[in-house]
Point group: C2
Chain length 154, copies 2
């Protein structure tokens, strides 16, 4: 038996599962790619411990997490040249701190609405319209975040 | 005639208008309250210059803007004890950098969906259900941000 881990909430799906395709995990946070066929370049930066609100995090942890969000945004912009990046920390259904980082395109299924709005158009094989493959994108995200963390936050 | 202001885009509504009820304006940013009758405690922190993406801002400006977002979040949590705070920077329709800071309640019209989803229930006079008046809340936000900026970011 390991040590009791009080940072996990058994009823919380982001405590018990990765929450998507794991791209990178550090001791404090992880990056996953959501399997969203309408919005394929959809990443989440998830705090590993169970924390609900952004301001529940200590200031250095917020700086770390936002730095990672920003790296993911930069990679998506560089690799995909999206029409817009959408960032959001909502958590109404799963109140475990996570940032959505989503590359949006003017051809995507809900553009220009947020991804939580009803579909505006049917788009088949959206991932095929991206400038790179999702596995290549995952690798770029992982490498960029790893490099950033190795070099320190500033 | 004043000096030519190249930071403004004439076709951009957040360059040309406050974008809501003005709560506080500094040289770099402003805070407005959106007049959203379904989600009355809905604030936006808007960068004054026309910038599209979060990572278009210089690092010190991102730190400033996020510090203000965090103060607004803290005031909403302290004054209203919401079920969740929602933070988002989207800008698909108006690509002028702004953060949504929204107090959400389990009785609100779209809970637990994001505010951009279809309505789940009819709620009349939502503002009347808050623990304080909106004008009092605006004042608390303005005072807290003013105090934070006067004391420096750290």
């Amino acid at each position: 038996m390991g040590q009791l881990d009080t940072s996990r909430v058994v009823s919380c799906e982001l405590c018990m599962q990765d929450g998507g395709i794991l791209v990178l995990r550090t001791d404090k946070l992880r990056i996953i790619r959501a399997e969203d066929f309408d919005h394929p370049a959809f990443y989440r930066v998830i705090w590993n411990d169970h924390v609900s609100e952004w301001t529940d995090l200590a200031s250095p942890d917020r700086a770390l997490m936002m730095a990672v969000v920003e790296i993911v945004e930069r990679v998506l912009r560089e690799q995909l040249e999206p029409d817009k990046i959408n960032l959001a920390s909502l958590g109404n259904v799963v109140p475990h701190l996570h940032w959505h980082v989503i590359a949006r395109f003017d051809w995507d299924a809900r553009w220009p609405s947020p991804v939580w709005a009803p579909v505006h158009r049917l788009v088949t094989h959206a991932a095929g319209k991206l400038a790179t493959t999702l596995s290549q994108l995952d690798l770029q995200v992982a490498q960029a975040v790893t490099a950033k963390l190795a070099n320190g936050l500033n």
